[in-house]
Symmetry: C2
Subunit: 323 residues, 2 copies
C-alpha cells in the first residue's frame, strides 16, 4: 500500500494566553480535533515547546491521522529563514530555534510565521478574503496585530517585520504605547486600552451595566465585557467602543491611502462587538479616504475570528513544502 496524497496539516497558534493546535485539511478549511491549553510562559521555553509538541500529537491521535507537516503562528519578530523566534515578550522567548525544536521532536516539516500574518493568510486562503489580490488583516486583541497578503503571498518586508499596524501612530504625540512610541493605534484600541478607558470613566455612568459589574462583581471591567455590553445596547459601553472605532478608522483610512486594498479584515475580540464597532469605523474611514480607493475596499469581520491563525499557519506550511 502506497501512501495517498497528504490530507492534513497541523496548524498551531501560540498566544500569550493560550496555545491551540488543530488538524487543518490540506485543501484548506476549519481545523478539527482542536486541542487547547494555557500558555504559562512562567514554566520556561523548553517546557512550553514540549507541551506544544504534545498538543500536536494529541490532535493527530484524536483524529487518527498523520499530518504532512506543522505550521506555527507565533507573536513577535521572527527570523523565518532560520526558523527562530527573535523575541516574544509575552512568552518570555528570545532567540528560540522553535522550528528545529519542533521538527526534531516530531520528525515532521515545520514552518513558522508571525501570528497576525497567519491570521491574515487564513482569511485570505479560506475566509473573508478568498480570491482577493490585496488583503490587510487586523487582529484586535491584547495587542493589535497586522498581516498583509499581496498576490496570495504574505508580505514580509525586508527583515520579516512588515505589517505592524498596531504601532502605526495616528495621534502625535499622543499616549505612550508599550512599544515606547507615542500615539500608536494599539494604545487606544487594543483590548487592555479599551478596558482601561471604560474603567476610567465608569463613575460618570452609574447606570451602565459595566458599573454594576464593578460594584456587584465579578469585575473588573474587561474588553469582552465592554464589547458585550455595547452589543447589548449599553450607552456608556457603546460610547467607549465608538471612541476606539474612530481611532481604528484613522488607521484603516491610512491603510486604504497606502495600500488601496480590496479588503480589510478585522478579527480578534474587539471585532466581535459587531456593528457598534463597524458602523462608526466605516463612516469615519469613508470621510477620510478618496472615493476610488474607498469604493474598491470592503471593511469586514473575519470569517474565522478564533481559528484563522491555525488555518493560516497550516497554509504557510503548505506553501513551504509545496510552493
Amino acid at each position: 500500500m502506497t501512501p495517498g496524497p497528504p490530507r492534513w496539516i497541523v496548524g498551531v497558534d501560540i498566544g500569550g494566553t493560550s496555545l491551540r493546535a488543530g488538524m487543518v485539511p490540506f485543501a484548506g478549511g476549519e481545523p478539527v480535533a482542536v486541542v487547547t491549553g494555557p500558555s504559562r510562559p512562567e514554566e520556561g521555553a523548553p517546557q512550553m515547546v514540549r507541551r506544544v509538541v504534545g498538543m500536536v500529537r494529541d490532535s493527530m491521535e484524536s483524529l487518527g491521522e498523520e499530518a504532512a507537516g506543522i505550521g506555527i503562528g507565533v507573536p513577535g519578530p521572527l527570523d523565518r529563514a532560520r526558523g527562530i523566534v527573535i523575541e516574544a515578550p509575552n512568552l518570555g522567548w528570545r532567540d528560540l530555534p522553535l522550528r528545529d525544536m519542533v521538527a526534531r521532536r516530531t520528525g515532521l516539516p515545520v514552518a513558522l510565521d508571525n501570528d497576525a500574518n497567519c491570521a491574515a493568510y487564513g482569511e485570505w486562503w479560506m475566509g473573508a478574503g478568498r480570491g482577493t489580490q490585496r488583503l490587510i488583516g487586523l487582529t484586535l486583541g491584547t495587542g493589535i496585530g497586522g498581516g498583509i497578503v499581496l498576490g496570495g503571498e504574505i508580505y514580509h518586508g525586508a527583515s520579516d517585520s512588515a505589517g505592524e499596524v498596531g504601532h502605526m501612530s495616528v495621534r502625535h504625540p499622543g499616549r505612550t504605547c508599550s512599544c515606547g512610541g507615542r500615539g500608536c493605534v494599539e494604545a487606544y484600541a487594543s483590548g487592555p486600552a479599551l478596558a482601561a478607558r471604560a474603567a476610567e470613566g465608569i463613575d460618570s455612568a452609574p447606570n451602565s451595566s459595566l458599573a454594576t459589574l464593578v460594584r456587584e462583581g465579578p469585575g473588573p471591567v474587561t474588553a469582552e465585557a465592554v464589547c458585550g455590553a455595547a452589543a447589548a445596547g449599553d450607552a456608556y459601553a457603546m460610547r467607549v467602543v465608538e471612541e476606539a472605532a474612530r481611532i481604528l478608522a484613522v488607521a484603516v483610512a491610512n491603510l486604504v491611502h497606502l495600500f488601496n486594498p480590496e479588503i480589510i479584515v478585522l478579527g480578534g475580540g474587539l471585532a466581535g462587538a459587531g456593528e457598534v464597532l463597524f458602523g462608526p469605523l466605516r463612516a469615519e474611514a469613508r470621510r477620510r479616504t478618496f472615493r476610488p480607493a474607498w469604493e474598491a475596499c470592503r471593511i469586514v469581520a473575519a470569517r474565522f475570528p478564533a481559528t484563522a491563525g491555525m488555518i493560516g499557519a497550516a497554509g504557510v506550511l503548505k506553501r513551504a513544502i509545496h510552493g
Copy 2:
C-alpha cells in the same frame, strides 16, 4: 538600412506649476534635451495637451533623435488601463483621455502613471534605490506624493490609488487638510504648510533672515526660502524645518512599521534642506520603530530630485512596451 534598437524614450513630468519633457536613454539615465514650460491650467486641457506634444517634439528635434515612446507622469487619480486622468485638481483636468490624445498626435506609444509613482520608480530604476526590492519614495512639494516600488514594480493597489502617503493621518484630529481629512502629513510638512508656519511665527523672530525677507523684500516667505535659510543656519528657519521633520518622522516610522522597506527616498523641494531635515527626521523615526525594521532601512535624499519623475515616466513606458 534597418533601424537599430530603440535608444531613447521621452519622459514627461506634468505638474501644477511646470511641464517638463526630456529624452531619457532607453537603458536608463538622466534626461537630456530637457524642455520646460509653465503649466497654465487656465488655458484649458486641449491647449495644455497641445503644448505638451509640442515640447515632446522639441525635445526629440533638439537631440535629433526619434523616441520609442512617451512616458507621462501626471498628478491625481488615473485609470491606467484606459489611459485616462480621472481628476487632477491642480490642472483642472477631469476624465481626460490623455494617453490617446498624445498617442494620436505623435504616432508613438504612450504610457501614463501617477507623478509620485514615476518619481519613486525613477529612483528605483536609476537613482538612490537601485537594486532594492522594497522602496518607498516621497516627493515633498506643493503636496506630499508617495510611490511604492515592490519587487521592481510600482505597487498600484486595487484601483490605481495606492501610495497616498501625504494623506496618512498622523495627528488625529489635527489640522484640516486640502483633502478634507484631518491631521494629514501634507497639512504639516508640504511646501505651503511650511511657508505658512514660518510666516505665522515670524514676529517672534525679528533677527531671522526670513523676517528681513518679509520686511525688506522680496517676501513673502516661501518654502524654498525657509529651507535655504535653515540650511544656512538661521535658527528660526531651522526650528520650523525641524518641526516639519518630526511630523515627517512619524510618517516615515509608520511606513517602516507597515512596509519594512529597504529604503525610503525623499525628494522634492523640502528634501533639499539637507541635514537640517534629515537629522531630526532620522532621530525621531528611529525612536519610533523596532530595531530589525529600522536597521534594514535607509532614509536618504533622492539622487535625481528634479528629474526622477521624467526618468521614472520613461521607465514606465519601457515596461509597458517591453514587459
